[in-house]
Amino acid sequence: MDRNLFHVTPRGWAGLGLAAFCFAVLPAVVGSYWLSILTSAACFTMAASGVAFMYARLGMVSLTQVGLMGIGGWVALRLNYAFAFPFEVNLVLAALATMICGWVLALPALRMRGLYLALVTLMAAGGLEIIFSTFQFPNGGSGFWGVKIGSADPFRGPALAPGPAAYLRYVVVMVTLGFLFIEGHRRLFPGRAWALIRRSEAAAMAAGVNVTLYKTWAFGIAGLLAGASGTLLAGSLGLLDDGTFRSPESIMIFALSVVGGAQYWLGAVVAAVLYRVLPGLLNQWGVNADLAFVIFGAGLLHAVITAPDGIAGQIWGGIGRLMSRRKGGAE
């Protein structure tokens, strides 16, 4: 219902609380090593939210998300060195450009479903990987590709957020806006259309829903979020490396979104924490960070076998049971 657009659920309050904590407390208490890891984790939270959204709302598996992040990052870097736009303009333009790429990807992909759709998106990720490793990311060189040998020219970060601590805050705000963007869609007419499409495409068509349009729209949103997160990642490091955007990373971010729980905001956060923070922890403890892959594998098995709603689903379920038990005990 439209009048419920601004209603905040208990889980919503929890999300806003976590965002406030990440905004106010985290940047003040962690060192530079963790600032960079947490900023990167926040960027991947946004990317994971896009791929989880497509999976949870429409059951579509997209294995291009990290590749699309690369497109966003590439466009942002290209704009940064070609023009004197402020960071926010680059962010919006890169997100929009990536959204259009999402639509273009949707055109052939929408003729397929399930495994075949996943394969098409994986092939697109493979193609992007080759393009990135061949042409690299702009770093201030001349020409269209803008690549030069040697150290990169300076990247203009957001004027609002000088320094890594302020930048983490900036990214947390952007990620929160991304979640609100998805939630707003879910509560308005696209959310209704998506819910019916997931129920049955025939029923959606019978209710006047243009199935192709709404599926394309979903691809566009996932692209928009990927583009924005790629730009934020570029802003964090000042440069991008093609190794970040290889196709296995797209598979990883999708798998971790399922492990985290695709239908909850917390699921995307869990996915990004597993993806970025866990290897960082292992590194700090002097353990080989590849151990993270073993943990990911165990997590995936766990999700497939016992937790269809992911870790986030288990957390919310556990909290729900605890609350009802406490309520029951008080009566």
């Binding site: 219902m1 439209d2 007419f189 209704r192 259309a193 819910a195 019916l196 997931r198 129920r199 049955s200 025939a202 029923a203 959606a204 068509m205 019978a206 209710a207 006047g208 829903v209 243009n210 199935v211």
Partner: protein, 239 residues
């Protein structure tokens, strides 16, 4: 008026509908026949989920076969399916509102219309419940409400009484009979419940093996010996 003209549908070597023609003029018309007779196929041709090899479907003179399925809904076609099509994570209200989302009417007008139709089917007090919490009959009523909003011209029900109790079927029959007076739409009903068809449908089309074996006022059709032979399986009667 709904005109079905020479509709031919083939699935590989099987002829699912063999040049079926009928001109429905009654406010509520029925389609009956044994399993596999082509009833649902005919409904799917009208909805656009199955493509006819030949033939025409005219709704108030407008050729529907040229339109994409969702455009037919925009032009006033509504239908329910054998299995209810209620999204579990949407409220009853949103499950009905989705039918109006393509229109450009104002939000307040849409909400008022949804509430009016939920009131008609008797779900106004449960508008805020999510689909997962509904009983089978409440889900069916939500389907009916979705068929009523947005000025429908043709409403089709595919076995709406499946799984319902006698009282629920009775209530559903009353609702179906009220559709024409409420919205001006014509209604087509497929059901195995001959009593329901006899009660609510003024005219009935009988299909068997993809052919039309009878069409006309329901009482006459049900008394037709060929219909009894094909549908009720009494005895073999030469055509």
């Amino acid at each position: 008026m709904i005109e079905v003209e020479g509709v031919l549908v083939r699935f590989g070597g099987v002829i699912a509908l063999n040049e079926v023609s009928a001109r429905f003029t009654a406010p509520v018309a029925g389609i009956i026949g044994p399993n596999g007779a082509g009833k649902t196929t005919l409904m799917n041709v009208i909805s656009g989920f199955v493509t006819a090899t030949a033939g025409r479907i005219l709704v108030e003179g407008e050729d529907f076969l040229a339109l994409a399925p969702h455009r037919r809904a925009h032009r006033g076609l509504r239908r329910s399916f054998q299995k209810d099509q209620i999204a579990d994570d949407l409220t009853v209200f949103d499950n009905v509102l989705v039918q109006l989302d393509f229109t450009l009417a104002g939000g307040a007008a849409k909400r008022a219309e949804v509430m009016r139709m939920l009131d008609v089917v008797g779900l106004a007090d449960r508008a805020g419940r999510i689909g997962a919490e509904l009983t089978g009959f409440e889900r069916r009523l939500t389907d009916v409400a979705r068929c009523l909003v947005g000025r429908p011209r043709l409403v089709m029900f595919d076995e709406p009484a499946g799984g319902l109790s006698v009282e629920e079927t009775h209530r559903l029959g009353e609702l179906i009979q009220g559709i024409h007076g409420l919205t001006g739409a014509q209604t087509l009903v497929i059901d195995h419940d001959v009593e329901l068809i006899a009660r609510v449908c003024a005219e009935t089309l009988v299909l068997d093996f993809g052919r039309r074996i009878a069409f006309g006022p329901t009482a006459d059709v049900l008394a037709d010996p060929r219909v009894k032979a094909a549908y009720l399986g009494t005895e073999e009667v030469a055509p």
